[in-house]
Structure formats: structure tokens, C-alpha cells
């Protein structure tokens, strides 16, 4: 029981990172129907931004978090403006290949600029372990879970309560109709990218503190896993993405704890394929039928 609870604690920390990433995928896919392959690399950008502002300008945790979120949001908006917007009317495969290109560019550009070696992330908050009935919880784990939950609630408020959030929902249902009623579609899409990328940036600094190690290729696998999480929860749904993220985190940690850690990636992909085949709308998603 003790080890089980311990694994659940670990799974929740990992799951909240996946959830933060999955939210970005889900929002972007919901609004322009694009799997933003570069999303995982924006998370890497966030981690590196935090690394540099902490090491060079000695930012504290909160300011570093904000810096990572701002830089990530900016790069998300720029990527959308330069790479995806000109292709808005092109076939979806063209946009998808561009997204792969952007992801490739960010990974290799970063490797070129800072080297491809892993770097140890500065300990901006000293790690303290609390023991409760034999279960170890570190302050970092509590911080990750807390910040992830706060950001998710904020996001849900923005989407449900603000004017911009309403515009986002309108554009994701029907961009043409949204434009007809006076919504600035381009601005709304930029805003969506900014929100999603800011969450990815936050996930980047949190994973840096959790694993103490960052490198230019760190976004690749978590990016795909977060996409699996978004699909699992139902793409376009915020609670779904959060739920999917936690579920993938738990699944991965469970496989690790029963000694099958070598196969944990394969299991995530297998879950993805099964979900895509049998429950393509995800757990919280709406099923849309193809019409002639």
C-alpha cells in the first residue's frame, strides 16, 4: 500500500507536467485542427529560458516561471505568425509537415547554439523531503502539482468567462461563422497559441526542477506523450486534457514500478493506437460524424 501511494504521488507530479503540455495541444488542435509538433520544443524553450535567467540574472522561482511563460508565449505566437498562418488555406498535410520542420528547427537550432549535452538545472528552490506515514513527498512535487492546478483553473476561467475565451470557443466551432459575427479570427488564434505555449513554458521549468536535467531534445518524447494524453482525454476539451495527462503519468509510473520501465514508451503508444481506433473522440470529447 505504501509503495502504491508513493507511486501515485510520483505519477501525479509527472502527470501534471503532461497535463500542462496536453492543454496546449488540445487548444491548438481544437482551433486550427493542427497537431502542433513544435509544442514539445516550446516546452524545451521554456526550460532553457528558465535555466539562463536563473543562472545569469539570478531570478527567483516566480520571476523565472513568468519569464519562461512569456518567452514561450512569444515564440508560440511568432511560430504561428510566420510558419502556420501563411498556410491556413493549404491542405492539412502541408501544415503538418511545416510543424515538423519547425520542431526540427527548434531542436537543432538549440543544439547548435548551446550544444547537445544535457545540463543540470539550477536548484532555485532547495529540495526538502517530507515524510508522512512512510511516504516521501518533496516540496518540488507539491509545487508542481499546485502550480499545474492553479494554471488549469486559470485557463478554464479564461476560456469560460472572458470575451476572448468565448471568441476562442466560437472560432473552434466554426471559423467562418465566427468571422461573420465580428470576431478577429487571426487575433484569436494568436491568443490561443500564446496561452498554450505559456503553459508549455511553465511545464518546462517545472520538469527542469523535477528531473534536474535539461537538453535540446527533451521535448520530443514528452511532446508526443502529451499529445497522446490530449487524444485520450478528448481533443479540444480542457478537463479532458488534464485528465488524460494524469492518466498517462499514472500508467507510465505503474509500468515503471512493476519493473517494465524499458517498455513504458511502447505502452503509451499502444494506448494511443487503441484509443484512436476504438474511442477516437476520447473520454470527454464529442463525436463528429463525417458528412457527404
Amino acid at each position: 500500500m505504501q509503495t502504491f501511494l508513493q507511486q501515485i504521488i510520483n505519477a501525479l507530479s509527472l502527470g501534471s507536467i503532461y497535463a500542462l503540455l496536453a492543454l496546449g495541444y488540445s487548444m491548438v488542435y481544437g482551433i486550427i485542427k493542427l497537431i502542433n509538433f513544435a509544442h514539445g520544443d516550446i516546452y524545451m524553450l521554456g526550460a532553457f529560458t528558465a535555466y539562463f535567467v536563473i543562472n545569469i540574472w539570478h531570478f527567483n522561482f516566480i520571476t523565472a516561471l513568468l519569464a519562461a511563460m512569456v518567452i514561450s508565449a512569444l515564440s508560440g505566437v511568432l511560430i504561428e505568425y510566420f510558419a502556420y498562418r501563411p498556410l491556413r488555406k493549404s491542405p492539412r498535410i502541408a501544415v503538418l509537415i511545416t510543424a515538423i520542420g519547425v520542431s526540427f528547427l527548434l531542436e537543432n537550432g538549440m543544439s547548435y547554439l548551446v550544444g547537445s549535452n544535457a545540463r543540470s538545472f539550477p536548484q532555485v528552490i532547495a529540495q526538502v523531503n517530507y515524510s508522512m506515514g512512510g511516504i516521501l513527498i518533496s516540496n518540488i512535487q507539491i509545487l508542481i502539482l499546485g502550480i499545474a492546478l492553479i494554471l488549469m483553473v486559470l485557463l478554464q476561467l479564461i476560456i469560460k468567462k472572458t470575451k476572448m475565451g468565448r471568441a476562442m470557443r466560437a472560432v473552434s466551432v466554426d471559423p467562418d461563422a465566427a468571422e461573420l459575427v465580428g470576431i478577429n479570427v487571426n487575433q484569436t488564434i494568436s491568443f490561443t497559441f500564446a496561452l498554450g505555449s505559456a503553459l508549455a513554458g511553465a511545464a518546462g521549468i517545472l520538469i527542469g526542477m523535477y528531473y534536474n536535467s535539461i537538453d535540446p531534445l527533451m521535448g520530443m518524447t514528452p511532446g508526443i506523450k502529451a499529445f497522446v494524453a490530449a487524444v485520450l482525454g478528448g481533443i479540444g476539451s480542457v478537463p479532458g486534457a488534464a485528465f488524460g495527462g494524469f492518466l498517462i503519468g499514472i500508467l507510465e509510473t505503474l509500468f515503471q514500478s512493476v519493473g517494465l520501465s524499458a517498455y513504458k514508451d511502447a505502452v503509451v503508444y499502444l494506448v494511443l493506437i487503441i484509443i484512436l481506433l476504438f474511442l477516437p473522440a476520447g473520454i470527454f470529447g464529442k463525436n463528429i460524424k463525417e458528412k457527404v
Binding site: 492539412r92 498535410i93 526540427f104 528547427l105 531542436e107 481506433l277
Partner: protein, 317 residues
């Protein structure tokens, strides 16, 4: 058939002339082992990219798992030729690799093509390739993450040259057959094709199997030529670099794929000293092509002797 002998003969002459040209250039010393290595890599990339072009360009299904099939071919050859170190062993391993890849493509294809398309299909095939890689990474017989070394050097440039010609002939004939017209109809409009009585899933899966089988051939060639393989050779990056060749040349143009493989192969060799910058240039090229010329270098234009040599019908006119 009678009207076609001219073109068949022209192609045959071109193939044989190409073979002797390379042979003479090697004997004279113009092609040293460095350039020969480049030519072999170009050949392997042509086999891979033409197979992927069949799937993406002609049947219109977006697969991101080509490296997985390549891994199957490479590891089959590596394992079998380590026990049967002979030409016969290589041929057996080639056939076993093709059969294995075809079976997996059949299973994956029938499972996914019925329900998925577009970007979901891309993610699913990517997942399949990663599962294959993950399994190879953990098996004892494949040497785990360290990979396999000292694979007998049973493939050389003539083998690769012959395989390039053979796979291209098979693929082009498939595209121009009744089956090929069926998959092109599926690509243009799946619903309309289905309404015309075309079994869309069947043809899509057939194109996928053929593409997977050619990828296995390329994998076998690579394993027997480079002599060392490891699971990291067959990751997402490999699938993407094959995709870059297809997209650069023109989705739906086999001539374009040949051209792009040659251009990128030369560029690769020239940029070898730049390390990480090479991949940056690759990425920027991919984005710029998509932004300014999404149809690739040649679009869907094909080289054909029919356009150069006038047909009898035209002469009569």
C-alpha cells in the same frame, strides 16, 4: 505492348549505361570510396523515399512510421547473415525481411486505415514505428540499445544499384496498373472512389504493404553495407528525413524523389563538417519549401521517354 517496346528498351539502355558509367568512373578513379559511399547512401534513400512516396503521394495516406519497417529489414538481415554468412544468406534475409515487414504492414494497415486518416494516421504510424523500435531496444537477439556490430559486408554498390532499379520498376508498374489508378482515385476523393465501387481500404493497405516492403529492402541494404546498426538509427528523425526527400522532390513524383535524394545526398556530404548546422539547414529548407512551393521541386511531373520520342500515333497525325 508492341507500342511500348521502344520505351522499355530506352529505359533498359539507360539502366545498363548508368551501371557501366559508374563502373568505369570507379576504375578510372574519379569515384573514390568516399563518393562511392555517398552513391550507396543515395541509392538506399531512393528506395526508402520512393516507397514512402507511394504511400503519401499516390495513395494519399500520411505515414510517419517508415523507419520502423526499415528497422525490421535491417535487423532481419543482421541476425540471419550472422549465422549464414553467404550471398544466399543475404538473399534469404532480404526475403524474410520483406515478408515480415509486409505482415506487419498488413496488420497495421487493416487496423488503422479503416478508421483513421490525415494527422491521426500520421501519429498512429509514428506510434507503431516507436513500438517496433522499443521492442528491438529491449530484445537480447538484437543486441539491445547498443545495436549489432560486424554484420557481414554482403551488400555493395552494384547490389544497391540493382535493387534501386528493381524496386522502382515494381513501384512504377504498380502505379500505372489498374490498382495504381484505384489508389489515385482514393487519394483524390475517397467518398467518390468508394461510390464507384473501389474497395478503398484494400487498396490503401496494398500501397502501405508495398511501401513497407521496399523500406525493409532498404534496411537490409543499409545493414549489410554499413555493418553496424542500432535502434537509434531508426527513430523519428529517420522517418522525418525520408519524408523531407519525398516532400522536397514533390509529393506524387517519382522523378522528383530521385532528384531530391541525389541533391540531398550531395548536400549531406558537402555539409558533413558542419555538424548540428546541417540539421538546421535541413529544417529551414523544409519550412521554406512548404511555405513557398508546397508541391515540391517537381510537383507531380514525371520524366518519360514518351515525351521525348514521338509515338506512332502522333507520327501518323
Amino acid at each position: 505492348m508492341k507500342a511500348n517496346w521502344k520505351y522499355i528498351l530506352s529505359w533498359l539502355i539507360m539502366i545498363i549505361a548508368g551501371f557501366y558509367l559508374i563502373n568505369i568512373l570507379i576504375m578510372v578513379g574519379v569515384i573514390d570510396s568516399f563518393i562511392e559511399n555517398m552513391l550507396v547512401m543515395i541509392g538506399i534513400n531512393i528506395i526508402l523515399a520512393t516507397g514512402l512516396n507511394l504511400i503519401i503521394g499516390f495513395s494519399g495516406q500520411f505515414s510517419l512510421g517508415h523507419a520502423g519497417f526499415m528497422a525490421i529489414g535491417a535487423y532481419t538481415t543482421a541476425i540471419i547473415t550472422q549465422h549464414f554468412d553467404s550471398e544466399l544468406g543475404f538473399i534469404i534475409s532480404l526475403i524474410v525481411g520483406i515478408v515480415l515487414a509486409s505482415i506487419i504492414a498488413l496488420i497495421v494497415g487493416t487496423a488503422t486505415f479503416i478508421r483513421l486518416k490525415g494527422d491521426y494516421l500520421a501519429i498512429a504510424t509514428l506510434g507503431v514505428a516507436e513500438i517496433i523500435r522499443n521492442i528491438i531496444n529491449n530484445l537480447k537477439i538484437t543486441g539491445g540499445s547498443a545495436g549489432m556490430f560486424n554484420i557481414p559486408p554482403l551488400s555493395s554498390w552494384p547490389t544497391v544499384y540493382i535493387m534501386v532499379c528493381l524496386t522502382t520498376i515494381v513501384l512504377l508498374n504498380f502505379i500505372r496498373s489498374r490498382n495504381g489508378r484505384a489508389i489515385k482515385a482514393v487519394r483524390e476523393d475517397e467518398l467518390a472512389a468508394e461510390a464507384m465501387g473501389i474497395n478503398t481500404t484494400k487498396w490503401k493497405v496494398e500501397a502501405f504493404i508495398l511501401g513497407g516492403a521496399t523500406a525493409a529492402i532498404a534496411g537490409s541494404m543499409q545493414a549489410a553495407y554499413v555493418q553496424t546498426i542500432s535502434p537509434s538509427n531508426f527513430g523519428i528523425m529517420e522517418s522525418i528525413s525520408i519524408l523531407v526527400i519525398v516532400v522536397l522532390g514533390g509529393v506524387g513524383s517519382m522523378t522528383g524523389t530521385f532528384l531530391a535524394a541525389i541533391v540531398l545526398g550531395i548536400l549531406d556530404t558537402v555539409l558533413q563538417n558542419f555538424g548540428a548546422l546541417r540539421m538546421v539547414i535541413y529544417a529551414i529548407a523544409l519550412i521554406l519549401i512548404m511555405l513557398f512551393k508546397p508541391s515540391g521541386l517537381l510537383g507531380n511531373w514525371e520524366f518519360s521517354f514518351k515525351k521525348i520520342i514521338p509515338t506512332n500515333k502522333k507520327e501518323r497525325d
